[in-house]
């Protein structure tokens, strides 16, 4: 028994082509099965009982009434967790179902499976949990005080990164300081957390799921279910966006537990309010910065204290704070740095991965500081940035010397020199005004501002993490034509990995029909679709497997044709050294199937020194710059972003259309955090867990994005490519903040910017 999954379609195209997505046809027809669309006969629906308190001891759990409710087939608690009741991406500190204590509002406590989803939800309401409510720790600074209750056995410091670079007592002629605050952003993928678990009747389970990393889910699931990894098989279902929200387990273990208990397939699909508590968020933070520079505008030192609120469980906090610290200064040369990056446990919602991963929070601070420094020096802000830009051969504050193209100054020049949009027209359409069709202004009190920002981050895993991906490539003849099948476990989250794998195979093997098979755990790990890494790492694995297939084809041709050197595979033919076609590939292969599996690893990284934060900790870096033009209604504090311009080095655009989509979509998420998106948490409780109250940018909010896409070629990566997905989300928001400051003359140190920040 298995649910209907997306069709495995063939596609063609070569590296560098604007390729139509093979999965888009099913998607526009409404025929693409997402994880929330899965169904099989006899399926039950699962629901989750969640804590109404951010911090409480569980006194008792009574499931009797729930078990007796109509349609109910199982009610489970922590006592039903067969393996160890603890999981987590970096630290196994989170229970599958809370046993003695709940540490955040919405934490899972019990599970119900029933015939109808409404029966399951109503039965969940009948599970009686008695709590002894505790006073929650909701401020990370308070959590760090010695008197604070310890939320976990090791205390409340999830990780403290210390970077001590250069002279720790450096002084400077010009000094600026600032304090900055970042609100909690939600990834808000449109597809809810969902999946279908089907018991195999022999104690194991098959899970059809939307996740960013099948194999890390499998490893954690086997651990908590008390099964061997081969007894927990995962297959990728259609993914409705991710952006970091699908790195941690959500409903995976719960659906598997219910399926194993009832012996029936169980589907769980979160509602939007449940989704807001069902995944981690971008860390909110408070950042204190001090920049020192010479009178002619050279950075002398940066001191920073970055405190991120990790919430109740660690998730990927330890890696997020490393990024926030390593890239704290931004893409600038700085000989001396003293950075303390601390992420703390609290009783707020758990925070973890979101696009930009630590580099978003610090970019707001270092870019505001650069503008402040420019003002103190009476320098042009772009000139100051270009004067200090990282270059090839520059050392980061972690001591790592960057090789390959580092075009920070050039990216800033490009966005600076791009023509500006026309001034606001008199009698412009209301939708072009701050306040939009609310009809709050026809141009009165509207001031325009222009701002700039640059940012960077690491691509791939860092700090010595074993980064690799696996690809299997199979060449055969189908209906008289060569056919390549590519099998990886890489997650197609919308970014276009399915297209890129086909383009790479098509390029390496010169075959027109390439089929990318459904991702599952039958093939080795691809690592996660995060850190902008899949095109590089899984793309690299597909390339390596194709090269191995090609070598075997050429060897076969040499043997069959009794020919010597110089044979090559070209356009579905074997071609001799003189360029003449010797035999068609399909004829050469006949019944033969060539199947190769390869693991690809990028160059190694090293752990940060615990005392100084010095190391070659990162594999590749990607850079972007943005210019924002905004109109602000200075009486009402309403902002209209008029235009964004960006320049980014992508190394090599494997699919230019997809690259543009990343630059536009990433900028929209940056705009969201800058001017509207915030999960409002009061005393540990989320006050706005819905799309009515959590505002996302609509088509009316998003301006045109003008783009310069550079392809400078990284000498270390496949095809010279660089990761693309995250840089657009890093500097877009800080450029908008700079533009708002320029329009209003106010310091504006907190995001998202609220109307009262601009008028009161």
């Amino acid at each position: 028994m298995k649910p209907r999954l997306a069709e495995e379609t063939t596609s063609g195209g070569r590296v560098g082509d604007r390729v139509r997505r093979p999965d888009a046809v099913q998607k526009v027809r409404g025929d693409f099965p997402y994880s929330s669309d899965l169904q099989v006969d006899g399926m039950l629906w699962g629901a989750t009982v969640r804590s109404p308190h951010p911090y409480a001891r569980i006194e008792s759990i009574d499931t009797k009434a729930a078990k007796a409710a109509p349609g109910v087939k199982a009610v489970l608690t922590f006592e039903d967790v067969a393996g160890e009741n603890a999981y987590g991406l970096e630290i196994a500190d989170q229970p599958v179902l809370a046993s003695d204590v709940v540490r955040y509002w919405g934490e899972a406590v019990a599970l119900v499976a029933a015939e109808h989803p409404e029966q399951a939800r109503r039965a969940a309401d009948k599970v009686k949990v008695e709590y002894a409510v505790l006073k929650p720790v909701t401020d990370p600074e308070q959590a760090l005080l010695p008197k604070a209750p310890k939320l976990h056995p090791g205390g409340n410091v999830t990780r403290h990164i210390k970077i001590r670079h250069g002279d720790q007592n450096a002084t400077a002629e010009v000094v600026v300081t600032g304090d900055y605050e970042i609100g909690m952003q939600d990834q808000a993928p449109l597809g809810p957390e969902s999946g279908l678990a089907i018991p195999d009747g022999e104690g194991g389970v098959d899970l059809y799921i939307a996740t960013q990393w099948l194999h890390i889910d499998q490893k954690q699931l086997a651990h908590v279910l008390g099964l061997e990894p081969h007894e927990v098989r995962l297959t990728m279902a259609g993914i409705g966006g991710a952006f970091g929200a699908r790195e941690d387990l959500s409903m995976q273990a719960h659906a598997c537990m219910l399926a194993l208990k009832t012996g029936r397939p169980v589907k769980i699909s979160y509602s939007r309010p449940e989704s807001f508590v069902g995944h981690v968020h971008r860390h909110p933070g408070k950042l204190h910065y001090e920049h020192g520079a010479t009178k002619d505008g050279k950075l002398v030192y940066v001191k920073a204290r970055i405190v991120l609120d990790g919430g109740a469980y660690a998730s990927s906090s330890t890696a997020v704070i490393a990024n926030a610290s390593c890239f704290a200064v931004g893409p600038y040369q700085c000989p001396n740095a003293t950075i303390d990056g601390i992420v703390a446990y609290t009783n707020n919602p758990p925070c973890g991965a979101m696009r930009g991963f630590g580099s978003v929070q610090n970019c707001y601070a270092h870019e505001a500081q650069m503008d402040k420094l420019a003002a103190a020096l009476t320098m042009d802000p772009v000139a100051l940035r270009r004067h200090n830009s990282l270059e090839t051969g520059s050392a980061l504050i972690t001591g790592q010397v960057i090789d390959g193209p580092v075009p920070v100054a050039e990216l800033l020049r490009l966005v600076h020199e791009r023509p500006l949009p026309a001034p606001a027209a008199k009698n412009a359409d209301l939708t072009a005004m701050p306040g939009g069709v609310s009809n709050t202004t026809h141009g009165e009190s509207v001031k325009r501002g222009i701002g700039y920002a640059a940012g960077f981050k690491n691509i791939g895993y860092s700090e010595g993490f074993n980064d690799f991906s696996t690809a299997r490539v199979r060449l055969s003849v189908v209906d008289g034509k060569p056919r390549v099948e590519v099998h990886t476990a890489g997650a197609e989250v919308g970014q276009g990995l399915v297209t890129i794998q086909a383009q790479i195979a098509g390029t390496e093997l010169g075959v027109r029909d390439v089929m990318v098979l459904t991702a599952d755990t039958e093939v080795g790990s691809a690592g996660s679709s995060s850190a902008s890494r899949q095109t590089y790492i899984t793309g690299g694995a597909v390339k390596a497997a194709c090269e191995a297939v090609r070598e075997r084809v050429v060897a076969l041709a040499q043997s069959e044709l009794k020919s010597g050197e110089g044979l090559r595979l070209e356009d579905e033919n074997i071609v001799g050294a003189d360029g003449n076609v010797l035999v068609a590939l399909a004829t050469l292969l006949g019944e033969e199937v060539i199947d190769e599996l390869r693991v690809f690893r990028p160059r190694k990284t090293s752990p940060l020194d615990p005392d100084t934060g010095q190391a070659n900790a990162h594999m590749q870096f990607a850079f972007a710059a943005h210019r924002a033009v905004v109109d602000v209604d200075t009486e009402l504090g309403l902002v209209k972003v008029v235009e964004l311009a960006t320049a980014q080095d992508v190394g090599k655009a494997i699919n230019p259309q997809a690259v543009e989509g990343q630059l536009e979509g990433g900028a929209a998420q940056g705009l969201g955090l800058a001017v509207m998106e915030e999960i409002q948490v009061q005393d540990g409780v989320i006050k706005n867990p819905s799309f009515t109250d959590y505002l996302l940018p609509t088509i009316l909010d998003m301006p045109p994005v003008r783009m310069d896409i550079l392809e400078l070629g990284d000498p270390n990566s496949p095809y010279g490519l660089k990761g693309v997905g995250e840089p657009p989300t890093i500097s877009s928001g800080p450029a908008i903040l700079a533009a708002i400051r320029a329009a209003t003359g106010r310091p504006v140190t907190r995001v998202p910017v609220r109307p009262h920040d601009l008028v009161l």
Partner: protein, 155 residues
């Protein structure tokens, strides 16, 4: 209760519908039409946009019983045969599809817009699609797709 209606030109009876179910739930779980997506259940994201009696609605905000005797057209009913409707083809070609979860709703909303205004201005496109949230694309290629479809319909 049973709900009788016409869906994508076919007479249908959804049996055993619970009174509290939405039109979206009925389409998906009773009639097996999973193209209309459930992303917010509050009418904010437009992912479940369908025609009900010729009017564009969010199926999550309509009770299943309100569809009794009505004609419904979903994303699955726009194309004739195995091909794509011009709007669908334009979304594919323009690169307006990434994760695609918002796409069915945007395709239906664009279909409705172009029926009303065959050559919409940028402001009219933005106004018409303001009820459809896309988290992936930043909307630029969606606007390209609408213009592409409008241009092809004219020619």
């Amino acid at each position: 209760m049973n709900v009788s209606c016409t869906v994508n030109g076919r007479a249908q009876v959804a049996e055993g519908v619970w009174e509290g179910e939405s039109l979206l739930y009925m389409l998906r779980e009773h009639l097996g039409l999973y193209g209309s997506k459930n992303a917010c259940e509050q009418g904010e994201c437009g992912s479940c946009s369908v025609y009900l009696g010729g009017t564009l609605v969010c199926a999550c905000l309509v009770l299943a019983g309100q569809a009794q005797g009505k004609e419904i057209i979903t994303v699955e009913g726009l194309a004739r045969g195995h091909g794509l409707h011009a709007v669908q083809d334009a979304f594919v070609e323009a690169g307006a599809v990434q994760c695609g979860f918002c796409t069915p709703g945007l395709v239906v909303a664009t279909h409705d817009l172009l029926q009303r205004i065959p050559s919409p201005s940028d402001a009219q496109i933005r106004e018409a699609l303001a009820g459809n949230i896309c988290r992936c694309t930043g909307y630029a290629k969606i606007i390209d797709a609408v213009n592409l479809a409008a241009g092809r319909s004219r020619s």
